[in-house]
């Protein structure tokens, strides 16, 4: 296993005296010690170092899925397997994790004494022409593995392209995906309740405890607090430490960019950050809630706008790790959820040692990739106020993401609108939020005021639309030109009006 060189300034970090057991995680059923491991090391490197070379690197930044492994996570009253990209999973996040690679799938002893030479999903890939060069194959196998043991959510509307959803986080350049799609269609959910299958039966077992054990390399420590208080204390003691939630942004900096941090504070074990709840002040979504968890929770009734937007977010592997808090704190001009929160008039709950403060998202971003959250503070949650609709009126919630691909892409332009109409179909309140047209996610304030009092149809909104056309000054980049982005600003507005003007 390789050892990274020390980063400058790292020697200043006081090392905590350890009371907890030595850090470790489980890989293919065997405990692997994390003692002395540099927390920057990725699960990809660790697994390969353990000899599990089915875990392949194709990009080191979460795009290709060749490094996909499955991890077992608590779910409802039991547990479930989730596909994650090992190239963006840092050693410092691993204490207590149970991870599986393609090597573990076969041969599998079944309780009746027989041995399954190949796991059914491996057989399906091999028989159906789902592997050519084979480099992508173990990653696909693990995405299929997670889908195989996951029951379709009761009552959930079927996704437009369920097989595509299973596979979108894995790139294959050889097969054209047909055979893989056939395998995904045949096998998603097929392992649910398969008696005698050791992987299925394992899901009923309790999860290993999520110990709050730090991972300590030669001169870098990854703290793993289990309470908010502890996290804040650590942040105050180590202002230079990088907070990590799902690591889908931080991991890219480490894995592709070779960034070194003097210390980490890993939030994965802070359960208080993972709650979603409702009270009279509205919804409260913990900063540690993953996009996948949020996607399960939202519906066309609760947070319709977010419900509409989330399928476009990353891939399954990314959604299983990426968090609501990380998305806001990254402060990307095209952070999809940031744009949604802006339209929903949400507020960020920020915790300092002295207490919490609440900041409207519209004042949250202070500049390109900058936020109001100070070095000693922690983002706790996002609050979404309740929707108030005038009697006889209605509320329009609409969102659309334009990217060059439908999955696993960064928005070229993303729009999220909420518009309140009175009983006569006249706008009483509007929030038009955009990503990708300004250095920060931004609202079209002038167009919003111009909309108030207008009737919600193409004619009525024409004046506001003219204002909207001049509201932003977008930039050229690899994803699109200035003129394309500028055009999309009004085109998306038009589409929203066309789709929602009739109740």
């Amino acid at each position: 296993m390789s050892v990274r060189e020390a980063g400058a300034g790292s020697s200043a970090i006081p090392v905590r005296t350890r009371t907890a057991p030595p850090p470790s995680f489980t890989l293919n059923g065997t405990a692997v010690s994390l003692e002395g491991i540099d927390p920057h090391e990725t699960l990809l490197e660790l697994a390969r170092g353990q000899g599990y070379t089915s875990v392949k690197e194709g990009c080191a930044e979460g795009d290709c899925g060749a490094c996909t492994v499955a991890v077992r996570q608590t779910f409802a009253r039991g547990s479930t397997y989730r596909a994650v990209v090992s190239c963006l999973t840092l050693a410092g996040q691993l204490s207590g994790v149970e991870a599986w690679t393609a090597e573990a799938l076969s041969p599998a002893p079944l309780p009746d004494g027989t041995v399954e030479d190949l796991h059914p999903l491996q057989a399906a890939i091999a028989d159906g022409g789902g592997t050519q060069c084979g480099y992508c194959t173990p990653g696909f196998a693990m995405s299929l593995f997670a889908a195989y043991y996951t029951a379709p959510r009761p009552g959930a509307a079927p996704e437009g392209d369920p097989a595509g959803e299973v596979l979108a986080g894995n790139l294959c350049r050889c097969t054209g995906y047909r055979a893989l799609r056939e395998a995904a269609t045949a096998l998603a959910g097929a392992g649910v309740g398969r008696s005698g299958d050791p992987f299925w039966e394992r899901l009923a077992r309790p999860m290993p405890p999520h110990p709050s054990v730090s991972v300590e390399g030669r001169d870098v420590i990854a703290f793993r607090p289990s309470t908010i208080d502890e996290a804040i204390q650590l942040k105050i003691a180590h202002p230079e430490a990088r907070i990590v939630a799902g690591a889908t942004d931080v991991g890219v900096e480490v894995s592709r960019g070779g960034r070194r941090f003097p210390a980490f504070i890993m939030l994965g074990a802070v359960d208080q950050l993972r709650d979603i709840g409702r009270d009279d002040t509205g919804l409260r979504i913990g900063a540690g809630v993953t996009i996948a968890e949020l996607k399960v929770w939202v519906s066309p009734v609760t947070l319709p706008l977010v419900h509409r937007l989330l399928p476009w977010f990353g891939s399954r592997q990314i959604r299983n790790r990426a968090t609501v808090g990380g998305n806001l704190m990254t402060a990307s001009p095209v952070g999809d959820l940031s744009v949604a929160w802006l339209a929903l008039d949400a507020k960020a709950v920020v915790q300092a040692r002295t207490g919490t403060r609440t900041v409207p998202i519209s004042r949250f971003f202070t500049g390109y990739r900058q936020t109001v959250v100070g070095p000693n503070e922690l983002l706790m949650a996002v609050r979404v106020p309740p929707v108030v609709v005038p009697p006889g009126g209605r509320r329009v919630e609409w969102a659309h993401k334009v990217a060059r691909r439908d999955r696993v892409d960064i928005s070229t332009v993303v729009a999220a609108f909420t518009v309140t109409l009175n009983d006569r179909g006249v706008v009483t309140d509007a929030r038009l939020a955009y990503g990708g047209v300004a250095p920060v996610p931004a609202r079209a304030a002038r167009a919003e005021s111009a909309l108030v009092g207008a009737s919600w149809d193409a004619d009525g909104t024409a004046a506001a639309r003219a204002v909207l056309a001049t509201e932003f000054a977008p930039i050229d980049d690899v994803r699109a030109s200035v003129s394309y982005r500028a055009r999309l600003v009004t085109n998306l507005f038009d589409r929203c009006v066309a789709e929602t003007s009739a109740p």
Partner: protein, 777 residues
């Protein structure tokens, strides 16, 4: 249906096999025991269980890890390189630069297939005086791990004198453009013009007198088209591991499409006789033409010599994009003329293709393929190789032909529109066939263009309606045809018989698309055993005779022929042994479907294998050959698109590819080739490009920004395998790996034209390009 008078009657295939509810169809001839069946590939289990060993998985005792320092500039002179600080880093074992390479002569060297200029090859591996593109290798470090090597690279001090650069074809051919190689002069039609420019070569192919023929045309269509540089996009990054042993012998372990090509290039660059270099091919995670040239192998060898330990180098994705050979961008002008009854009478074209930093592009192949689907009496094509300050380009699946077809097949579509003819009918009316003259001179041998077009027309997809578009969208359908000539090249195979009746087959062709299976199956057919009874392995360059690269769609054809010959050699020896057992003359023993017979006596292959010990010991059948009977292949794509006219996004709804395989040895892998190339074509058409900033630097060097299609972007691809046997192969094999990527970009462009009424002149046809074409931005 209209047909040309001089066209031979089509040989109607004998049988239509349909699987998957008509989605995958085979139009087949001939029945065999093994060929045409679908056994699980020999490497399948290792791949699904993750146990296959790829280049990057190579493990050796004492292994060091390397990293390459690359140019941050697009064009610069290297004034000095100071490695002293880097050498002082603990854990660093060796640092090498171009100074460690023998002085390369400025001469062409023979590499078995095509040649190369040794100085250019050597300078591309480690720059000498000039860096010619961003990412050009300058120095390399070997250290105890890759992080230390990276840190040391950052400490190497290089002083540059930045030079003006050219980033794309039109700028490079403009008057007064900065020169990539100031000393080079343009060769035109075989003569040195003495003119210094970025055009290194101008070639022309002409039949008849097209200028006069255009005067006879009633209808003319023409257009100018550009395509951008794209990457093969293999998922496994380029890698190499090398050990320079104390006796002066070098072994390289690498993921390569051609172990002999890798050996020969490495030996040439290192100035060693080939006898001192051995290449051990590892499992390869995709190549598509991009893993033929060597980039890291000589560097790993130098680092190993300097450190005395084995050294492994693996590129990052950004390095793969910036420092390996992508497919060239192109600029073409194409013109076709037809009579009003729809006969093509004249064609002319100019094709400019980028070669990147060193001379030599795919222009020749583009010129050969451009007109191949058609019978035209008067035609001319001019081709130009253009230098730019970009990575040296490399082959990518049917190199050159897709760029040419993007231009020509759109002009053909326009011509059919002007004539009011159905696009498939128009192509059928003018279809090339056996005996049609090709622009490069020879006549088409037996080819399946007409059969492919007929299957395209008859397919349910072509016959279906477009359906109702979703709100805010428009739908269209496009068709295009493409040709690839396929190649032969030498191959070697050895087959040994085991006592249990199984056989071991060793070959030199690295397997990138299922060739182990398709070659083993041909041997099995001849031997009369099951596919599972043949155990194929790809071996190193010391263990088998010379074998050309896996490329040019040659492997199932040429290495297949070697396997057939080797199997026949085995049968001849076995026949003699069986004769010995029966005490008869060998002439009296026959072999058929795995059974040896003499009169009423019969013995299975397996039983005969059991008698080897007592009849004279082991049997090995070998064959090394250089076949010339390869046959070209046609492919068509029919595709339906839906375009969101507000966002400019194009969704491919339906896709059918019809291709002549000659004979599909393993139909699933043939379909796999068609489908894989189709997906690549969808990416090339809609989203893939080297996006360059104003300084000529690629800004999308990650897979998040360089958009390969995901499963979400590719529909369920329908395939039709047409089998028009190639007379140059006993089973009729043509080779299937490349023709399928020729038509997709043009087919998508034609579908877009059909949907929105606008002709697309450039790739990629991304959302911005669509809105631009619509005039809304």
């Amino acid at each position: 249906m209209t047909t040309t008078a001089d066209r031979p009657a089509t040989s109607s295939p004998t049988r239509v096999i349909s699987i998957n509810d008509g989605a995958n169809i085979i139009v087949s001839h001939g029945d065999y025991a093994v060929i045409g069946t679908r056994p699980v590939r020999h490497d399948g289990v290792d791949k699904v269980t993750g146990r296959a060993v790829y280049g990057g998985d190579t493990r050796l005792n004492g292994l060091l890890f390397g990293k390459v320092l690359r140019s941050p500039h697009v064009h610069a002179r290297i004034v000095s390189i100071d490695t002293s600080k880097a050498r002082a880093v603990p854990g660093v074992h060796a640092i090498v630069t171009n100074a460690d390479l023998p002085t390369a002569e400025d001469r062409e060297v023979n590499l078995g297939e095509g040649g190369g200029n040794l100085k250019y090859m050597s300078d591309n591996v480690l720059a000498s005086d000039l860096v010619l593109y961003k990412g050009h290798a300058i120095a390399a470090v070997a250290a105890i791990n890759v992080h230390v090597a990276e840190a040391a690279c950052a400490l190497i001090e290089v002083e540059y004198e930045v030079l003006p650069a050219v980033h794309e074809i039109k700028a490079a051919i403009a008057e007064g453009a900065p020169l990539v190689h100031p000393s080079l002069t343009t060769k035109s039609l075989g003569k040195d013009t003495g003119v210094h420019s970025n055009i290194t070569n101008h070639a022309r192919l002409q039949i008849g007198d097209p200028d006069a023929a255009f005067a006879r045309a009633d209808v003319i269509a023409e257009g100018e088209f550009t395509t951008t540089m794209v990457h093969q996009g293999y998922i496994e990054p380029t890698n190499a591991t090398a050990m320079w042993y104390a006796d002066g012998k070098v072994t390289i372990w690498t993921s390569t499409q051609g172990s002999f090509a890798a050996r020969d290039s490495t030996a040439q660059i290192l100035g060693l006789p080939v006898s001192r270099v051995k290449a051990v091919p590892q499992e390869i995670g995709g190549g598509f033409g991009g893993k033929i040239n060597v980039y890291l192998e000589p560097v790993a060898a130098l680092l190993s010599r300097a450190s005395g330990r084995p050294v492994k180098l693996i590129m990052t994705r950004a390095e793969v994009f910036q420092a390996t050979g992508p497919a060239p961008g192109s600029y073409s002008k194409v013109k076709f003329g037809a009579t009003k009854d729809g006969r093509l009478v004249a064609a002319s074209a100019e094709i400019y293709m980028e070669s990147g930093a060193y001379p030599g592009s795919d222009t020749g192949a583009a010129m050969r393929c451009l007109y191949s689907p058609y019978k035209i009496d008067d035609m001319r094509v001019d081709g130009y190789d253009v230098l730019t300050n970009r990575p040296k380009t490399a082959p990518y699946r049917a190199p050159g032909a897709p760029q040419a077809a993007f231009a020509s097949e759109q002009v053909i579509d326009d011509l059919a529109r002007k004539l009011g003819m159905d696009p498939v009918e128009f192509r059928l009316l003018n279809a090339a066939h056996e005996g049609t003259r090709l622009v490069n001179g020879p006549l088409h041998k037996k080819v399946g263009g007409i059969e492919v077009l007929e299957q395209t027309k008859a397919h349910a997809h072509y016959q279906s309606d477009l359906g109702t578009p979703s709100p805010g969208t428009k739908r269209g359908r496009g068709v295009a045809i493409g040709y690839w000539f396929n190649i032969g090249l030498p191959s070697s195979v050895a087959i040994s018989v085991n006592a249990d009746g199984s056989v071991t087959l060793v070959e030199g062709s690295t397997d990138i698309g299922g060739s182990r299976a398709s070659i083993a199956m041909q041997a099995a057919e001849i031997l009369g055993v099951r596919a599972e009874d043949v155990r194929p392995s790809v071996v190193d360059t010391d263990s088998i005779g010379y074998t050309g690269v896996t490329g040019g769609s040659r492997t199932t054809y040429a290495t297949g022929l070697a396997a057939i010959e080797a199997a026949r050699h085995v049968i001849a020896q076995m026949t003699a042994r069986v004769a010995k057992v029966w005490s008869v003359s060998p002439d009296e023993v026959s072999h058929d479907h795995g059974a040896f017979r003499a009169g009423t006596r019969s013995m299975s292959f397996k039983d005969a294998a059991g008698h080897l010990d007592e009849t004279g010991g082991p049997i090995t059948g070998t064959a090394s050959l250089d076949p010339q009977g390869h046959g070209g292949a046609f492919a068509t794509v029919t595709c339906d698109v839906e375009i969101d006219v507000e966002t400019g996004k194009t969704q491919v709804l339906k896709w059918t590819i019809v291709q002549d395989a000659g004979k599909a040895i393993h139909p699933s892998y043939v379909e796999g080739q068609f489908q894989g190339a189709s997906a690549q074509g969808i990416g090339w058409a809609l989203s893939e490009e080297y996006f360059m900033n104003s300084k000529g630097e690629m800004t999308n060097t990650s897979l998040l920004d360089y958009r390969l299609p995901t499963a979400f972007d590719v529909p369920m691809i329908n395939t039709v395998i047409v089998e028009v046997p190639n007379p140059g192969h006993p089973f009729g094999v043509r080779g299937v790996g490349e023709a399928s990527i020729v038509p997709p970009m043009a087919a998508v462009a034609n579908a877009i034209r059909d949907a929105i009424g606008v002709r697309m002149h450039a790739l990629p046809m991304n959302p911005g390009a669509i809105l631009h074409a619509l005039g809304t931005i």
